[in-house]
């Protein structure tokens, strides 16, 4: 299968007062269509920069980002984004929040059709009956669910998530992993997930990319050879445990390199 996302030799540095700060160094990532790529790495290694590059929100100093065989130079309508902060609009109801991308991407779509699509998604993530509530009336986990619906309501080719579950408690997070798994089964999309949580990367990912410390390059790629309909139990079985060990060692190596530099 062709690669939907291809990041080829991307190098990027931020200009700061004390000179250029390199964050990405010859980074290579390829994600085939429909696959789920989890990206892990030490703090501050440039993972968030990666999401902004794929979304076309910024251009790399060197290297290329390709989506669907087209080079990304500006934002595209076929991308969905979710962040650690659900960034729901407080003045809109949950339903109106989920509809927001459709107002931009499909301005001619009839309102009834938009609402039907949004309600369908809300039901899938377990928010049935909450569509007319305001974001402030929902718990953190529920807000993040609504944020996920908004990210995929316009059927994007690529879903980019930047530590979307980072601020949630463990059990809520595990619930959302399962929601994510079910959403993917119902609505196929290609996904890039930036995370700090190794268990999350193994549970959700088809591939796990380990980034080195800053400036980040691809240190290792792990193929997660587990069935698509994973349950939480699988994380406690030897195969997944081995992968978690491997990843943990890789992170240690990544941090070590980081340590030498400072």
């Amino acid at each position: 299968m062709a690669n939907l996302i291809e990041i080829k030799g991307v190098t990027h540095a931020y200009r700061t007062k004390s000179g250029p700060l390199p964050v990405l160094d010859n980074l290579n990532i390829a994600v085939p269509e429909g696959e789920f790529a989890a990206v892990v790495g030490p703090s501050g290694c440039g993972k968030s920069t990666l999401t902004r590059l794929v979304a076309g929100l910024m251009k790399p100093d060197q290297g290329e980002v390709w989506l669907h065989g087209e080079r990304v130079t500006s934002p595209r309508k076929t991308v969905g984004m979710a962040f650690q902060n659900p960034v729901l609009l407080e003045w809109r109801t949950i339903l109106e929040n989920v509809i927001l991308p459709l107002e931009i991407v499909a301005p001619r779509m009839p309102q009834a059709e938009r609402e039907a699509r949004a309600l369908h998604l809300l039901e899938m993530v377990g928010l049935k009956g909450f569509d007319s509530k305001r974001p402030s009336e929902l718990s953190g986990g529920m807000r993040q669910r609504a944020s996920l619906c908004r990210a995929i309501v316009h059927k994007p080719d690529v879903l980019i998530m930047d530590e979307p579950f980072g601020a949630l408690d463990n059990f809520t997070r595990e619930d959302l992993w399962q929601t994510m798994r079910d959403l993917r089964a119902a609505e196929p999309f290609t996904c890039v997930l930036i995370t700090h949580d190794l268990r999350e990367s193994v549970f959700l990912g088809d591939q796990v990319f380990v980034l080195s410390g800053r400036p980040a390059r691809t240190q290792m790629v792990l193929n997660v050879d587990l069935p698509a309909d994973r349950t939480l139990d699988i994380l406690y079985q030897p195969k997944a445990q081995d992968m978690l060990h491997t990843l943990r060692d890789q992170i240690r190596i990544a941090q070590g390199r980081d340590g030498e530099m400072h």
Partner: protein, 254 residues
């Protein structure tokens, strides 16, 4: 029971205040030219009832027009400062400096530049005195918008105008109304300032001035009460607008 309490308690407080005022004047046996008592006010209102209506209307429309201009101009300046770092660095010292000038000192300046244009001068002063809080709050509201809010729409290829209309503008509304509550009071002060100071002025301020000139102290106090009533009216009008347009910002009571 609670709504009854909400209505009865303020009324009782006002009555208590009036009674204390009346008692103060009565106990000290102050003559009218020292301090008028509440019982002097109804006759004063009745005697000048048409003047009160006319002058009250003058004060009201000039305050509202001045405030309206302040909203337009303040929002525009706020937008420019919110979106452009250079504009913010350039405009901010100018605005702060201008705001630091006590506006009373501008009355003779304006009166000289625009001689005889009483309506214009009054509206101009109401505007000058009240746009600053709006400009600052809109500017700060826009420049502190979290980048993620912008990114969710920008990643879909939305234009800057769309992002402003759908996200930045509504998100700034609570700050805007906070500033508007300050500005409405300021605009009211600006209007009265010109009405009182300018020769041959109109409006409640001029009525106050004529009470002073003619030694009609009950009239002066009646004007003060009328001004208070008008000020309350304007303030609550802003509150109602806030409830309508930014009611979502009020946290549900729990």
């Amino acid at each position: 029971m609670e709504t009854l309490q909400k209505i009865v308690v303020p009324i009782l407080a006002v009555l208590l205040f009036l009674w204390a005022w009346e008692a103060l004047v009565w106990v000290n046996d102050w003559p009218n030219y020292k301090m008028a008592s509440p019982s002097d006010l109804p006759p004063a209102f009745w005697k000048f009832r048409w003047l009160f209506l006319e002058m009250g209307w003058q004060t009201l429309w000039r305050t509202v027009v001045g405030l309206g201009l302040a909203v337009l101009f303040g929002t525009l300046v706020g937008m420019i400062m919110g979106f452009s770092r250079i504009a913010r660095d350039g405009l901010y010292p100018l605005l702060v400096g201008f705001n630091a000038i006590p506006k009373a000192t501008l009355v003779p300046v304006i009166s000289l530049i625009f001689i005889g244009q009483h309506d214009f001068n009054t509206v101009l002063m109401a505007f000058l005195i009240s746009f600053f809080p709006i400009a600052v709050s809109v500017g700060i509201g826009l420049s502190t918008l979290e980048p993620e809010y912008r990114d969710i729409l920008r990643s879909l290829g939305a234009s800057r105008l769309t992002i402003f209309r759908k996200i930045a503008l509504p998100k700034t509304l609570p700050e805007f109304f906070g500033a508007l509550k300050v500005s409405v009071t300021l605009a009211f002060i600006g209007t009265n300032l010109v009405e009182i100071v300018a020769p041959h002025g109109r409006g409640l301020g001029a009525l106050f001035k004529s009470g002073e000139t003619n030694g009609d102290y009950p009239l002066m106090f009646a004007v003060l009460i009328a001004l208070a009533a008008l000020g309350i009216l304007l303030y609550y009008a802003v509150l109602v607008l806030e409830r309508i347009f930014a009611g979502w910002a009020e946290r549900p009571q729990s």
